[in-house]
Amino acid sequence: MAIKSIVCGVTGSAHAQKAALEAAALAKRNNARLTYVYVVDAGFLKGSVGGMSMSIAQEGLERLGQQILEFAEKLAQSYQIIPGTIVRTGPVLEVLKQIVLEENADVLVLGHEERSFFDKLLFKGSVEDHIEELKKLTGADVTVIR
């Protein structure tokens, strides 16, 4: 199957940066369109703070997301790829699903995120726990870069 469109979820983590680079290489090999996505999800604050803090957190994360995507763009340029960038707010899984469908992506590239028991307890859920679900919902192949 020819890969025409790739979506890559990006954060500032080393794994995510590696994923961004791999996605750029994949785009180069397949001459595919590449879209980097940063998802603003301040849902982890719901249990402890109210609306004002949520909006401040979202604004802050949006600003950070722009910077992270700018950095990822530079990584992609090392493969002579000019990626599209999207910062969108919402639950990570939901937003990734939307964007994969919107971009008609064949592949979704994600960086692996290690989580301890306490981290899972505190910042519930990880996209990696829902890879099969994502594949089923979007029809795209999901690759996790370690």
């Binding site: 954060t11 500032g12 983590s13 995510a16 940066q17 603003v40 999800d41 301040a42 982890f44 604050l45 719901k46 249990g47 402890s48 703070v49 109210g50 609306g51 004002m52 803090s53 909006s55 401040i56 957190a57 802050g60 994360l61 600003r63 950070l64 910077q67 992270i68 950095f71 995120e113 290690e114 301890s116 306490f118 981290d119 307890l121 505190l122 910042f123």
Partner: protein, 575 residues
Amino acid sequence: MTRLKLFLLLLSITVIFMGCCLPSQALASQADRLILSGAVYNAQGKPVKEVDIEVLVNGKTVTPLGKDESIKSGSNGAFSAQFSLSAGTLPSAKVELKGQKPSWEPIAPTTLKIIDAGTDAKGDRLFNISQIVSLKRAVSPAFWFATIILVGVYVVISFEWMHRTLAALLAAALILFITYTLGSYDKSYYILSFEDAMAAVDLNVIFLLLGMMIFVGVLKRTGMFQFLAYKAYAWARGNVFILSFVLQFLTAVISAFLDNVTTMLLVIPVTIEIALTLKVHPLTFLIPQAFASNVGGTATLIGDPPNILIGSYTGLTFGQFVSNLTLICLLSLIVSCFYFLWWHKKEYMKADVGDVEKTIALLREQYKITDRKLMIQGLVILGFTILLFALHGFLHMQVAVAALIGSLLLLAISRVDIVEMLEREVEWPSLMFFIGLFVVIAAAESTGLIQQIANVVLQASQGNLTIAVIMILWVSAIASAFIDNIPFTATMLPIVLFLSESFGLPRDNVLWWSLSLGACLGGNGTMIGASANVVTVGMAEKAGYKISFVEYMKMCWWPMIITVTMCMVYLLIAY
């Protein structure tokens, strides 16, 4: 004419009725009149209100004169009643008193000593009785319900099974529901009346928080917080050690007057950007900042919710908080700053400073003051409000009044839309959380749970104040490292009050400072110990910079232990 006739008829009836009544009154004046007065206290000598008192004469219950057929102790524990009995009854009668109140052991029938007080003008024989009654707590079903509900709230909040506001409000509603269902049939299930629940809500705390939220809501629009973080970089001129030190100090100072969580949320993006520019891991700046935020918040009455709760409950003034806590907080801040500089020295040494001037220019462009006029207005009025905080004890004014006048004056002058402010900037869930929490704690107090805990603490301290100070400090610190310090402090307030009274201490006593320092600084030990930590770790993780629970503890547990130990030494020396 008809009206005149009717009037005359009514007048005649009245005169005849009065004529009939006069002899009977004259007859009543030959009665024995019993005047009862007294008060009900608990084991600590504090008045107990709403105790149902019953008087028995020769084994039969007698009804008091007047509108109220029952006798209840008032808010000061006092009760009084008069009884009219057939002439000659009292001198030889056995008069007993008994009483009851849900969650207290019933007062067993006690024989009262009657004092003959002579005869009044009407010819009634007067008898006086004065009785002080001591009431003991009972472990009733209401006690167990209140205990289960309080523990349930802690567990649900700790594991985030439910939003903490929903948990607290649901618990409060459950308390009232049990009171008015099971409690209506059986008084041993009666936990807390609606009136007492409403009286337990400390509006001073609610309005103080509301006022300070408005301040933050206005000031955040000015870009001031981000500008200050950029300024920290400009002052440090690329020196990472100085930058980290200045960022920590800046965060601590802001947190002493404004909400820690909001302060952190506003400075986190700038800090991450600065860290990335320097190619330093952002958490090496962020975690010391969160730590400093909690230390700074401890220094004043308005800096951290536990202090707000303590201040409002005890009536301790802003000035008393500053004079008792600021010095030790400053020392703790200096020590923790140097600790973190040492801890992260390898990472800081690796920093790639690059072109400082270029970075300063870039940050200056990004983090400008967006509304200078609003910032000046906000800061001037915040200064005025802090002045009012400093004077509130002298003016006998609640701190909430100072916060409200300041914040509302700011809205009036700046013309910021109050509706938008109330809708978007005020954290109603947090305020409702406090309301629910006050009711849950009042239920625990009303049913005797708090008393039981306080007795255990008193016994454990062996009546020694030094042990009590150390115990409250460390128990608060360790507990606050793992559970929300707001419900913890709310629970501890009546316990510390009981201990203060048991030790015969004045109002502004060392136990309160012990609670404050323990509850506020203990939260620094883990990533879940304080809201500022959760927010910092969460924001950093969302940006891709994660830290595990254990790594966080490795970084912060020891400085927490060091700062709390410093506080212990300070408390033992200074008091």
